[in-house]
């Protein structure tokens, strides 16, 4: 500032110049220098003049500052003029010329932004879908109730029927309570049957969750007692109704085949219902539960009364639970000072594993978009100075590409998301993904416009390197995701499931099927041409077993002396492990029943590796003993552990099979027979062969095909993520290789 200026004048001038400088940001960069020069020159002259004549009073300074505020109006007017149709047309022509002059740079900017927004929107859409929980009215008051024994390291387990009745009647904080148990049923007739996750629920289930049927009705009390208008009712999930029944508007009243028996469809409910477990597609009446207080028969969901809290409900439930435990000490199998406690959790809560995964996905979406914005800013802003319209067109094109990419990817991923994330539901997630993309485009536009400020300068190598590195990080994250999905795929296919699924057929023979003389069905089927080996079992692997069965050890378990424990139970003949190809890692399989006494079960049991590691860590369980509570009044004698079998693996990411006990088939009182047949024959050929030896019409199920179908989503996800990783990596390389030309020096 001028040396002749007094301090007060300098302050006034500085303040006025600052005011005008703020307004200059509104002026298009091409006009900005002239505009500022005009205003600043006038301010300089006026302040010098007033100061020279001693007339720069406070009032004069205020008036001058007031005049400077008009600069904002002037700047806005200049900006509006630049957006006039003629100016826009001229800008468009200029932008088109620049596009032709630098197609690689502009293309890289558009594609990288589009890819970043598309990926970010897709990831956000999937993340949001995972948070779509049960669509229940008043969902915030719906809770799950579990039994735990933390001192015995027993986590969530179900409730007994006695507890369910007692809690339902005696908890003031609870408005309604329902029982639920997961199951699997074969839906469809014969060879077309496929396993479907099902829920066995008490009649209050849907009312407790506040769910009404979209078509027909849900289960009622009459259905549980078998007195209802529909024998064997079933409620379908809306997506299952659309996928398997073509959205037939006449589905209510239609008969469907479940486990070979006819069931009548009474209603269709929202596809967002994911209880008793994610992936449940239909619901059946639960039926009577075992009365043993120690049998953790079913899980429970409840609705809290308005005003009740989780803490009050938990307090009341534990008071009742402790009273029951005191009344029935034997029923809780000698807990010896280890008390069961009841925990209440909000329905919408998710385990820490899923929460971490979702947080990682959300962070990945944000990082992807930031990388894309950085990439395009680096390429286009440095090159496209003073071309605001071109920047707008670039960002608009990139945003459109991103929206199209997200739409296509979410649409393709929709059917597979259920298999990836528990409780995920794609419906409704797309809108938020597109909003995210729109916001990302806005951020990109703002970044570009800010980048247009200031004098033109050559493209920054440092900026391009940074953006390229950010894109490589995104590519690495995508590749990591592909690796996780590939791991899930390998874990399901082939021996990764824990057994050899290919060439294994399952045949359900129905109750009381003893078979021909001379060894029964297993022997008869084993003699058929093309059949290698046969085993008889309760249910095929990964499809069915007795769940949540309590057992107690002889004190050798590390978790405590005579502490009750739970596991799933599979019953099979001694051939089971050999037919499945499931390894026995220690000891042996159990003996065959004594000749002449086929129903007398040998006092032996096989445990799986997970159960052995949990209850006998670091030692072998072979030779130790345990007792199993199969049902009311059915407690086995002490059984000797004779072998350890390899674990079976789940079919969804992170899902694990519960610890398994394998009991001799003589303990099976369900009177149903399932044969597992290792054969080269197709299901149709085997069915015909078995039919010819007197079994009637049977329809074997290809276990290998079932496992393959469950693995397919993982393969699709792996390929998609790998492709996206490759594209992003190519963009990163292109960003480094493509050198944008020097910026123009003339203004628009």
């Amino acid at each position: 500032m001028s040396d002749r200026m007094r301090p007060g004048a300098r302050r006034v001038l500085r303040l006025c110049l600052l005011t005008v400088q703020g307004a200059s940001h509104l002026v298009p960069s091409g006009d900005r220098d002239d505009w500022r020069g005009t205003w600043e020159a006038e301010l300089w002259h006026r302040v010098l003049l007033l100061d020279r004549h001693g007339r720069l009073t406070l009032g004069a300074g205020a008036a001058l500052l007031h005049r400077c505020l008009g600069a904002y109006w002037h700047a806005a007017w200049v900006l509006s003029r630049s957006l006039a149709p003629r100016a826009l047309l001229a800008g468009t022509v200029l932008a088109a010329r620049e596009l032709g002059a630098a197609p690689a740079a502009t293309g890289a900017a558009v594609l990288s932004l589009g890819l970043a927004l598309g990926l970010g929107g897709t990831v956000l859409g999937v993340t949001r879908a995972a948070w779509n929980g049960v669509a229940a009215t008043g969902q915030e008051r719906v809770v799950r109730i579990w039994n735990r024994a933390p001192a015995a390291r027993i986590g969530r387990t179900g409730l007994s029927s006695l507890e369910l009745r007692t809690f339902r009647a005696g908890t003031p904080s609870i408005e309604a309570l329902a029982a639920q148990r997961p199951s699997v049923v074969m839906l469809g007739p014969g060879a077309d049957a496929s396993p479907v996750d099902a829920g066995l629920v008490s009649p209050e289930f849907f009312e407790t969750l506040g769910i009404t049927a979209e078509l027909g009705r849900t289960l009622s009390v009459a259905d549980a007692g078998g007195q209802g208008p529909d024998a064997a009712p079933v409620v379908l999930d809306a997506e299952l109704w659309r996928e398997r029944f073509g959205g037939d508007p006449r589905i209510v009243g239609r008969t469907v085949t479940l486990d070979g028996a006819p069931h009548r469809v009474i209603g269709v409910v929202s596809p967002k219902l994911r209880l008793p477990r994610p992936g449940t597609r239909l619901w059946l009446p639960l039926g009577p539960l075992p009365e043993s207080p120690g049998s953790h028969a079913a899980g429970a969901v409840a609705r809290l009364r308005p005003g009740a809290t989780l803490e009050s409900a938990e307090r009341e439930l534990n008071r009742l639970s402790h009273r029951l435990q005191a009344e029935f000490p034997g029923g809780y199998l000698g807990q010896s000072g280890v008390a069961w406690s009841v925990s209440v959790e909000p329905l919408a809560s998710r385990g820490p594993r899923v929460s971490r995964l979702l947080a990682l996905l959300a962070a990945g979406a944000t990082l992807t978009v930031v990388a894309g914005v950085a990439a395009t800013s680096s390429v286009s802003a440095a090159r496209l100075r003073a071309r605001r319209l071109h920047v707008v067109a670039t960002v608009a094109a990139g945003t459109a590409i991103g929206a199209a990419l997200a739409a296509g990817t979410l649409g393709a991923l929709g059917p597979w998301v259920d298999g990836w994330l528990p409780g995920a539901r794609m419906a409704g997630a797309g809108g938020e993904a597109f909003a995210f993309i729109g916001a990302g485009g806005g951020v990109a536009l703002l970044a570009h416009l800010i980048g247009l400020r200031g004098p033109a300068r050559p493209a920054s190598d440092g900026g391009r390197s940074g953006a390229s590195l950010a894109l490589l990080v995104c590519a690495a994250m995508l590749a990591l995701g592909a690796g996780l999905c590939a791991q899930g795929y390998r874990g399901i296919r082939g021996d990764g499931s824990g057994f050899r699924a290919e060439g294994l057929l399952a045949v359900a023979l129905g109750p009381g099927a003893q078979g021909p003389a001379g060894g029964g069905w297993p022997s008869a089927v084993a003699r058929l041409a093309g059949v290698e080996t046969v085993s008889r079992t309760l249910a095929p692997p990964l499809v069915g077993s007795l769940s949540g069965v309590t057992f107690v050890t002889d004190g050798s378990s590390k978790v405590g002396d005579r502490t009750p424990m739970t596991a799933d139970v599979q019953m099979a003949d001694p051939n089971y492990f050999a037919v499945l190809g499931q390894p026995i890692t220690a000891g042996r399989t159990f003996r065959s029943p004594t000749a002449g006494r086929p129903t007398e079960a040998p006092g032996e049991v096989v445990v799986d590796a997970s159960l052995a590691a949990r209850f006998w860590p670091g030692t072998s369980p072979v030779g130790h003993r345990l007792r199993v509570v199969l049902d009311v009044g059915r407690v086995t004698d002490w059984l000797t552990v004779v072998g350890v079998a390899g674990d079976l693996h789940g079919t969804a990411p992170g899902e694990t099979q519960a610890p398994l006990l394998y009991l001799p088939l003589a303990f099976d009182t369900t009177a149903a027979t399932t044969l597992l047949v290792r054969t080269r024959l197709t299901p149709a050929e085997l069915g015909a062969a078995i039919g010819r030896i007197g079994a009637g019409s049977v329809e074997p199920v290809d276990v290998g095909a079932v496992v393959a179908a469950r693995a397919a989503p993982h393969l699709a996800a792996t390929l998609i993520l790998l492709a996206l990783a490759g594209i992003v990596a190519l963009m990163a390389v292109a960003l480094r290789l493509v050198r944008p030309p020097q910026p123009l020096t003339t203004s628009a």
Binding site: S2, R4, G37, T38, E40, A41, E42, W44, H45, R46, L48, L49, L50, H53, R55, G59, A60, G61, A62, A63, L64, H66, R67, C68, L69, G70, A71, Y72, W73, H74, W77, V78, R81
Partner: protein
């Protein structure tokens, strides 16, 4: 901006230019119009050929140790338009005697 139907503010600005007020702040003083009105009008006049702008001699600015100012002059076309507009209005704006270049009258902030 069309050649016909000049607004009253535009007429005032043209009058100020015609009477020798050349610089933006001086025109504001003469017309008593706000700064956010005067400069857009000056730009419109320049765009339609009724006025033209230039930067003052850099030597003058250097001598006074300030940036060169932008000054406006009415063109012949602008003078004709002003005359016609005044005839249509039939109103004579109050005359203000222009002071020496750069010296406003009356003094304003």
């Amino acid at each position: 901006m069309t050649r016909r139907g000049l607004g009253s503010s535009t007429i005032l600005v043209l009058q100020a230019l015609a009477r020798g007020f050349r610089y933006g702040f001086d025109v504001m003083d003469a017309t008593e119009l706000p700064s956010g009105t005067v400069y857009p009008i000056l730009s419109k006049l320049e765009a339609t050929g009724l006025a033209r702008s230039s930067w003052e001699d850099a030597r003058i600015a250097r001598r006074e140790k300030r940036p060169p100012r932008r000054y406006y002059e009415i063109t012949a076309t602008g003078a004709v338009e002003l005359r016609e507009a005044m005839q249509r209005l039939g109103v004579l704006a109050p005359r203000r005697r222009p002071g020496p270049a750069g010296r406003p009258s009356p003094a304003r902030g």
